[in-house]
Amino acid sequence: MTQPYETVIGLEIHAQLTTNTKIFCGCSTEFGKTPNSQTCPVCLGLPGALPVLNRQVVEFAIKTGLATNCQIAPRSIFARKNYFYPDLPKGYQISQFELPVCEHGWQDIELEGGESKRIGITRIHMEEDAGKLIHGDTPEALGTSLVDLNRACTPLLEIVSEPDMRSADEAISYLKKIHQIVVYLGVCNGNLEEGSFRCDANVSVRPYGQAELGTRAELKNINSFRFIKEAIEHEVERQIDLIESGGKVVQETRLFDSNTGMTRSMRGKEEAHDYRYFPDPDLVPLVIDDSWIDAVRSSLPELPDAKRKRFIEKLGLPEYDAEVLASDRLLANYFDACVTHAKEAKACANWIMGEVLRKLKETDTLIGEVPISPVMLAELLDRIADNTISGKIGKTVFEKMWQTGRGADELIESEGLKQVTDTGAIETLVDEVIAANPDQVAEYLGGKDKLIGFFVGKVMQASQGKANPGMVNQLLIKRLKGN
């Protein structure tokens, strides 16, 4: 079946910044406090109060702009977006309209089949968040809404993409990239549930081959990656059905309802859609010179895409390993630190992706809290590489290291786990095993080569795992064949 319509998606992402204070006043941005306990004349919009820009917000905006290949505007200004809403104390939101802080960026996403696609970033601008509306449910508050202004005036970056995405999957892929970047940079905690990372999707459809865009709907209120996919797919279906049945898509804001998986029109806000933007006379132009940009650039961490590339090209990791390890900044740092002390990058990757990640999950621990430092892990891997212990014993040592926080060498020594490489000692065990299993010896000699595994297992068991498996193998063959 050929789909006659093409989907066109642009995303507007709101990332709440991890500053200590709000964008225009000194109130704390901490989440989950008593309503209206983090307020002052400025964020309450009291008569006469004036905004002063938090420098850290600019710093974060530049960081994000550089990380997404944007041009940083040498001069940008703040504007007022005027509308009435109870969670908006001043009757206007301070945002940027003309002359945003970053423009003309891009981010590559990987498509299925390994191809990559470049998504344009139109602009990134700074703005203040609104407060929170709670719908009253106690008997006294029934039928009313309650306004908490703790969140009012917290800093946001709005990252606006070009309408470059052609499917919900592309949109998710782009969204995840941006999510990863802002979290990597430490400018946003990325928490979708708390609303620290939000996304509005502009969705339209058009017949294939048509140059101009169809009328778009703006989908709001989507707070998980899964819902974003659902919301977009539902909206695309709705628009196509509408067009097919002779209707017309109207430009409007639609709310996604995660309970029904449907979007519905938000008529309330529609009526007054004239925001009357104008430059905020209470704020002065923001001028960013090259030296400021250079200073921020030099403080940028290596970004996920660059890391992945380095892991593949310089360290020889397979693509999958590189992807997993680069996905999280702290995990990647752990890996990098481990590699600098260990002999083999691939072994580090295997152990981190295997043992470390498993253990993190099991014990509900964060990568920053792992009791085994990268240097300690490297030491353990080296002991395996130099045959001091076997890989299997290594796992036992790893467990003990996790529990005790002690080093590999120390544990191997005190627990007597050192691998037995003394030929004489192994020969004794080999002889014992051969003597104890005459039937199997006969079968082996009769051509059942696979039974060598059985003998190795027995010898290893007898040595409590400490015998060098390679030597065991060698000596067994020599003795059996010699018989």
Binding site: L44, P47, V52, R276, D282, L283
Partner: protein, 485 residues
Amino acid sequence: MTIYDLTLAELRTKLDNRELSAVEVAEAYRARIAATDQDVNAYITVCDESAMAEAKLADQALAAGEIAPLTGLPIAAKDIFNTAGLKTTCASRILENYIAPYDATVIARIKEQKAVITGKLNMDEFAMGSSNENSAFGATRNPWNLNHVPGGSSGGSAACVASRQAAAALGTDTGGSIRQPASHCGVVGLKPTYGRVSRYGVIAYASSLDQVGPITRDVRDSALLLQAIAGHDPADSTSIDTPVPDYQATLTQELTGLKVGLPAEYFIDGLDEDVRRAVEQAVATYKELGAEIVEVSLPHTSYAVACYYLIATAEASSNLARYDGVRYGVRTDQAENLIDMYMQSRAAGFGAEVKRRIMLGTYALSSGYYDAYYLKAQKVRTMIRQDFLDAFAKVDVLLTPVAPTPAFTIGEKTNDPLQMYLSDIYTIPVNLAGTCAMSLPCGFSAAGLPIGLQLIGKPFEEATILRTAHAFEQATEWHKRKPEF
């Protein structure tokens, strides 16, 4: 000696010499306000108790030798300044119950010096007006003739100082709101350069034009009060971080060689003959004082009022959106839903002139009109500002009338908003250019109403206009006259 006739400087000396205590001064003013304000209606809130408490603290400071320039001096503030714990109404119904939970920076500064705040002064609602008739709490009357307006919007401030109900007052000036009432009431009003004095805590009318300044009995007091409030404030992004000179130090410098410019566009038809005569007399005085008089041109003057009414109303329409009945202020109890609550509360809370300006400003910013109105006005503003920069390349100060006529009668212009706006033609360009200017008494009309002279200075050269004004004051007697009632 009548205590309430003393200037700030005179009071300072008497307080420092222990000839008077701050409590005696405060009591004298309390009595004076009680005796006269039913006629003038300069005060919205009189601070009997808190003023007395502040006076006692000031006396303690004086006794301890901790004396700041304003310690113990009785100063009133336009009701546009947030004053912690006091009603701050902006002369609007919508804020009639609003108790400010914080101090404006300028209030904090004069409190820090232990000045005594005598009360909060009447004004045009949200500083929108030129006559004080737009107050929700009744018009203020001109102490020189109670049938006349005191000017506006700081009409309460000017009337208060003229009628000896405070030694000095703080006002604000967006399009002439300090200078025009000072002129109409025969006192000294100074509008500093935009950015010289903090706007933090000053209820905004038009943010890019509003500026705080002193209204005083004479020029020396103007310098004294400006000194106390001027200077950078990190809480106001538009306040300028530049040193504040010692205004007293240069006050008495001679004017020899000073170049005084007369802009031709300010001496045109429509200028009242009494005003023209008084200003021309002032020019003659300056010649005698050794100043050089130079003709200059400010070619875009006639566009200033149109430019101002677009910019000021646009900014105001946004600044006044916060009065929505959600967090403070009047809320109607008639509303059936949220939108209704907004519409009814604002309709009930704002007066006619405020509504008119919100409407005009909303329209000027609305979709499809922004370029034609707001942006166009901002460009014309650039041209007007350039006029001043060009003129100041040739002269040190500009000398002009403050208002085309002396104070008009109450009710005379209330039915014609445009005519009211045009009465600010000589003061508005200064706000658009952002520079400093002051008004000082230079004569009286045949009907006995005061006439003011405007001196306009280069940006941040308040010291120059202060000494220019001071020399004139020393050479004349106008500032010594006081209204009788």
